[in-house]
Amino acid sequence: MLRFLGFRLLRAAITIVMVVSFAFVVLRLSGDPAQIIMGADAPPEAIAAFRRAWGLEEPLWLQYLRYFGAIFSGDLGRSMRDGREAIALVAERIPATLALTIPALLIKLGIGIPAGITAALHRNSLVDRAVMVLAVAGFTVPSFVLGLLLVLVFAVQLGWLPSGGQESWRHAILPIVTMGVGGAAVLARFTRSAMLEVLGQPYIRTASAKGVPWRAVVWGHALPNAAIPTVTIIGFMVGSLIAGAVVVESVFSWPGVGRLLVVAVANRDLAVVQCILLLVAATMVAANLVVDLLYGALDPRLRQRAG
């Protein structure tokens, strides 16, 4: 077990190092932060001073090493824009993001899983087809399109809800729905196919043949098995609680982590970008770890192999 955990953590660390390095390279090669932050018409002396202050005149590899050294000593750096601690900047945005992503996750689970199960149990029925058409629609329409569509209908045409901002709970409804619908569609499709796969297994027939009522076959025999593949996709959704709102936050001008990321990238504000990426990678890795542990809890065949 310990070896298993250690192995997973090592893999997680490698993933994070790669993500952070990639961001460093891309951000540094794509533009000069001094130019962008100080403005195109800033005097050259000011830009030179800015560079000196942030160590930008040193060779790239030295900056890279320095940056990593800082990370390992717990210093995630400061924003080049206002000089605040990057981590504080990011941390104060997290609640706003979670206020969208957690309700959206609940919608995904609350609609996606029951819809998938219902569709599988009534395969090829009208219900099944309706669910699948909706799922394909929800799955293929990108969230910025869906978001704009919802704004057009509920904010512009009907005037029921605000189109952007963060003043009240009513401002959160459209972004939450936008995210929830797409995720619910993915989950419904996934749950349906997992359920269909399980319902075709011989042990389901065995359960029926020994007189287990159908409801109990579904709840007691089919669902515990169908849960095993479904957990993967749920884990992925949990992992994207922080990062999954970039597009939606931009569409609805919601001041969360996602929008901070967009602004920071535009400014080549490396410390902030890195800080967010670290956070995202860490949540992903944690979610994956939980999924692996859940597998063991759900499937005794894996428990033996992993334990």
Binding site: R3, F4, Q304, A306, G307
Partner: protein, 347 residues
């Protein structure tokens, strides 16, 4: 002067490292443990045993699809060349494999004629396309299909026809040896008979030698000239099919024979206790002794050798059958099948 046999395998051994559990240390599993066998041109050797006894691995070792950890294979008097080299490829054309599941062995997106022509192209047989097509038609006729079925796809054929197509493809390079791994066990009874008849007929016409790997003693008797019974990676008995079937010498062979379900057979079965053993957990001494109804003390300690039995020269690996130890109270009679179902194990 004695001509070298077509195939001669000496002391073939194949080990795998198997990890038990995620944390478990790898355990060495000897899938095949010192198997020697000889196959003459145009003859069939039946290799029988239960799942995990190493019969399929032996088939792959003989073909050079896997390399043995010890031992050697000589084909037509020549040692097996290193895999991947041109001489190895040339030798591979002379020996072909037929698998259990014909649908899995065929490419679903390709007409069977094209699949039969493929080995011809690979091995450069038939200079022109027309020549190759003629050969494909002849091969289809050989295996009892019609030349016009060359354009059919695997899913358009029945199970028996697919196995015929697989055979035609295997025969395309005119091999001297066919290794058939459970070639009939996925087929229906009436189709099994068709394929067994076809194998015997092809052999008499083409002179192909066959290594027939099967769990089915009846089928093995039907097609083989000799039979070798395997248990846990070793050959425990070898002889003429009728001799082994009517008077099995090894207690495992006796149990195997008595387990053949047969209409109208009045004899009682010998019931073996327990499951087939795990190759990773090989018992000491004779690997069969924990399930053996006639095992004595020495069987748990000393590994019996496969050697001719005094008297009739049957090759058998068993202390009791060899008469090296006094037979236990029940006694080993020639008609060992008539034993009562439950035999108290001798101390």
């Amino acid at each position: 002067m004695r001509k070298a046999p077509l195939l001669e395998a000496m002391g073939l051994t194949r080990r795998y490292a198997m990890r038990r559990g995620f944390l478990g240390r790898p355990v060495e599993v000897r899938a095949v443990d010192g198997v020697s066998l000889t196959l003459e041109r145009g003859r069939t050797l039946g290799l029988v045993g239960e799942s995990g006894c190493g019969k399929s691995t032996t088939g792959r070792l003989v073909l050079g699809l896997e390399m043995p950890d010890a031992g050697s294979v000589a084909f037509e008097g020549q040692p097996m060349p290193a895999p991947g080299t041109p001489p190895w490829r040339a030798m591979r054309a002379r020996m072909q494999m037929v698998f259990q599941d014909p649908l899995g062995a065929l490419d679903r997106r390709m007409a069977i004629g094209a699949q039969i022509a493929e080995p011809l192209e690979i091995h450069g047989i038939g200079a022109r396309r027309a020549e190759r097509m003629e050969r494909v038609a002849a091969l289809l006729r050989d295996v009892g299909l019609r030349p016009d079925q060359a354009v059919r796809y695997p899913h358009e054929l029945s199970g028996g026809q697919r196995q015929r197509a697989v055979l035609a493809r295997a025969l395309a390079t005119d091999p001297a040896l066919l290794v058939c791994d459970e070639p009939i066990s996925a087929l229906d009874v009436s189709i099994q008979a068709q394929v067994m008849n076809l194998l015997v007929e092809l052999q008499s016409r083409l002179g192909t030698a066959i290594l027939f790997v099967s769990h089915d003693l009846r089928a093995v008797r039907q097609v083989s000239h000799r039979v070798a019974v395997m248990y846990l990676g070793r050959i425990v008995e070898e002889g003429e099919p009728d001799a082994v079937l009517h008077d099995p010498a090894h207690p495992y062979a006796q149990a195997l024979v008595s387990a053949i379900p047969h209409p109208g057979r009045g004899q009682r079965r010998i019931l073996l206790q327990g499951d087939p053993p795990n190759p990773a957990d090989r018992p000491s001494g004779c690997a069969f002794h924990p399930r053996c109804p006639v095992a004595v003390a020495i069987c748990a300690k000393e590994d019996p050798m496969l050697k001719p039995r005094p008297g009739d020269g049957r090759r058998v690996a068993c202390h009791v059958a060899q008469g090296e130890v006094p037979a236990p109270s029940v006694g080993r009679s020639a008609a060992g099948l008539n034993r009562p179902a439950q035999i108290s194990k001798a101390a």
